[in-house]
Amino acid sequence: MKQFPQRSLSAALLAALLGLALTAASAPAAEMTAEQVVQGYLKATGYDALKGHDTVEIRGTLNFNGIDGPFVLQRKRPGHYRFQSTLEGREGVVGYDGEAAWGSARRGGFRAFDDSATAVLAADEGDFDGPLVKAKEKGHRLELVGTEDIDGTATYHLQVTLAGGKVQHWYLDTSTFLPVRKTTSAEHRRAGEYQRVYYFLEWADYGGVKLPSYYEREDRQHVRSYTLESVEWGKAIDAGVFAMPAAEPATP
């Protein structure tokens, strides 16, 4: 009978045990489905609490290319959105009233977004719950691409094809299910389509709902950061604030 040297046996045993351990550790990742990742996300972000709210008003500080200014973000179910910021005395607004999206025009006044930009805004910022919630009902398609290292964090990479065809990529921390990064499709007036990137750097609990309390956004060369200072759920918000103001229409 052949006898294995003790060291080799130990090494073999160790390798086998290590292999088993690795298999066990990676099994959940390998066997996860997109739906399970979304379930993890819903639990992590407190969707049970979120679905009990119809409005939210978030106040904070926006930094755009080094300049700080206040912002107010308002949302109202089913799909109303308004973001207003003031930087160096200049006010900027983006709104969506459930049908039409609009924003501040470069030369003053406001302009209506085209259909493509409206669809993107409606499916993302304009969606009170976000596109991962009831994605199928909304016509979005989810695919778990796999796990991916994002600057040192292991993430689940979810590809979300919105009902309109635009594609988003979500990267959720495998240990917390909180997003660390998201890329969305955006349009530059000269350069065309590009990837807008969100970096979710800090999360906090606001009345049972977890929101990114500090995040950054890159649009080609432009960098914005958002620091949340207050979150008020259930605030009465007049639906009129979400519609494009009729006065002072401007040429886009």
């Binding site: 930094n63 080094g66 600057d151 040192g152 530059h188 350069a191 750097l201 800090e202 960098v223």
Partner: protein
């Protein structure tokens, strides 16, 4: 044997002079990004810890809008500012921050992101060369600021005013002044007679961007390298176009200054969703693309290269990248914005976009921040200047100087923690 002996004698004669000079006076920082235009300083002995309030502040003063950094020569600082009436070059005392003189060079270039000049003055003997935001190349006498000559790029070369302003900082090469004019018909890079402003030669294609020319040596031959809106190009010192490499794609490519990695590599980067390019240069104008990806998207401020690795801002993410392969070794995101950085004494001395000064160890394996202090506010797009153990910083409203060698009260105490700014917690 005789040659070795001669070299030994020469080294023996020169070395004591060099040591004496180094002990008596700090090495100059005569132009944008330092002596070699690469953001590298020979400073040593920087303090590793700061008091809670940050490094010792030497002075702080108002300054008009501009994005110029400082040049430091012969114990004076030079930079620019603007007001409603025009753009000016300033000569300052580096110890007090007070003006020695202030000379108007042009009308005010106005821009949504900030008015005034973008370029940094270049010092050469008793001459100073600077480009205004509206594209005027100006030569001044550095002792008293007297205007010597000027050339208007728009009048002379027919270039259009760029939206973001002319940003090129002149490079002195012998009796020539090399400038990224960005004109059409083979006039991207222009050499001027530095004594008169006369055009000596013109070469290359492509509009001007954020960067400025650099001088490198490839296969024993010097060449001028410029990254512009068309691509990257190499030109011999006598104006012969040696090579060019286009950007593959992208609207509005505006690269920052290239980084040369000896003996033959070039690292070029641009924001606007473009990315980085690794080139290998060879003799007789040979150029080869080694890699291209989006690992590093320097906006207007370039990276630095230390021990063969490149450290810089991929928009608002600080990264360490291997310039030979384009692979990232680490990334640090959060609260940095589109910062700027220089290197000295094993450290990246970086200023965040919102005015936090940080010391980060230049290590390829991990981000390692050892000190941090909020020193400015507002939009801080100007890269630091290091001279004589001091760092000179500015935004569009204030200029400030800090002593980076003195630990200050409590600074030498290993228990003294770096100032924990809001940003450094991220």
């Amino acid at each position: 044997m005789l040659r070795i002996l001669l070299v030994s004698i020469l080294v023996g004669l020169i070395a004591p002079v060099a040591v004496t000079a180094a002990a008596d006076e700090a090495p100059d920082w005569p132009q944008y990004r330092g002596p070699n235009r690469d953001g590298i300083s020979a400073e040593t002995g920087l303090a590793r810890t700061w008091p809670d309030a940050g490094p010792q502040e030497l002075w702080r003063r108002p300054i008009g809008p501009a994005f110029s950094s400082f040049a430091a020569v012969d114990r004076h600082l030079y930079t620019t500012e603007s007001d409603a009436e025009g753009e000016y070059v300033l000569k300052l005392d580096p110890i007090t921050g007070e003006n020695a003189w202030r000379q108007k060079i042009a009308g005010t270039f106005e821009n949504n992101f900030g008015n005034g000049p973008r370029a940094t003055p270049t010092l050469d003997g008793d001459r100073l060369f600077v480009v205004s935001g509206s594209g005027g190349l100006h030569a001044l006498r550095s002792s008293d600021g007297e205007a010597l000559w000027s050339v208007d790029f728009k009048e002379t070369f027919g270039v259009e005013q760029m939206y973001f302003g002319f940003s090129t900082s002149p490079l002195v090469l012998g009796d020539r002044l090399i400038v990224d004019v960005g004109a059409t018909e083979g006039r991207a890079m222009v050499a001027f007679d530095k004594a008169t402003g006369k055009v000596l030669w013109q070469a290359g294609e492509g509009g001007a961007a954020y960067g400025s020319p650099i001088l490198v040596e490839v296969a024993g031959e010097p060449q001028l390298v410029l990254a512009n809106r068309a691509g990257v190009l190499g030109v011999s010192p006598d104006g012969k176009a040696l090579w060019s490499h286009p950007w593959a794609e992208g609207e509005g490519v505006k690269p920052s200054m290239p980084i040369f990695v000896e003996p033959d590599r070039l690292f070029v980067s641009a924001s606007y969703d473009i990315g980085a390019l690794g080139l290998r240069l060879g003799a007789e104008g040979k150029v080869e693309k080694v890699w291209q990806n989006k690992v590093m998207r320097n906006h207007f401020n370039s990276s630095v290269q230390v021990d063969g690795m490149v450290y810089g801002f991929d928009n608002a993410t600080l990264k360490c990248v291997d310039p030979k392969t384009g692979e990232q070794t680490w990334a640090k995101r959060g609260g940095l914005g589109k910062g700027s950085l220089v290197y000295a004494d094993g450290l990246l001395v970086l200023l965040t976009e919102t005015g936090t000064l940080k010391l980060v160890e230049a290590k390829p394996d991990a981000y390692s921040e050892i000190a941090s202090a909020k020193v400015l506010s507002g939009r801080c797009w100007t890269s630091p200047t290091l001279w004589d153990g001091k760092v000179f910083l500015r935004n569009r409203e204030e200029a400030v100087a800090f002593d980076l060698k003195a630990s200050g009260p409590g600074g030498s105490d290993p228990k003294a923690a770096p100032a924990a700014s809001e940003e450094s917690r991220r």
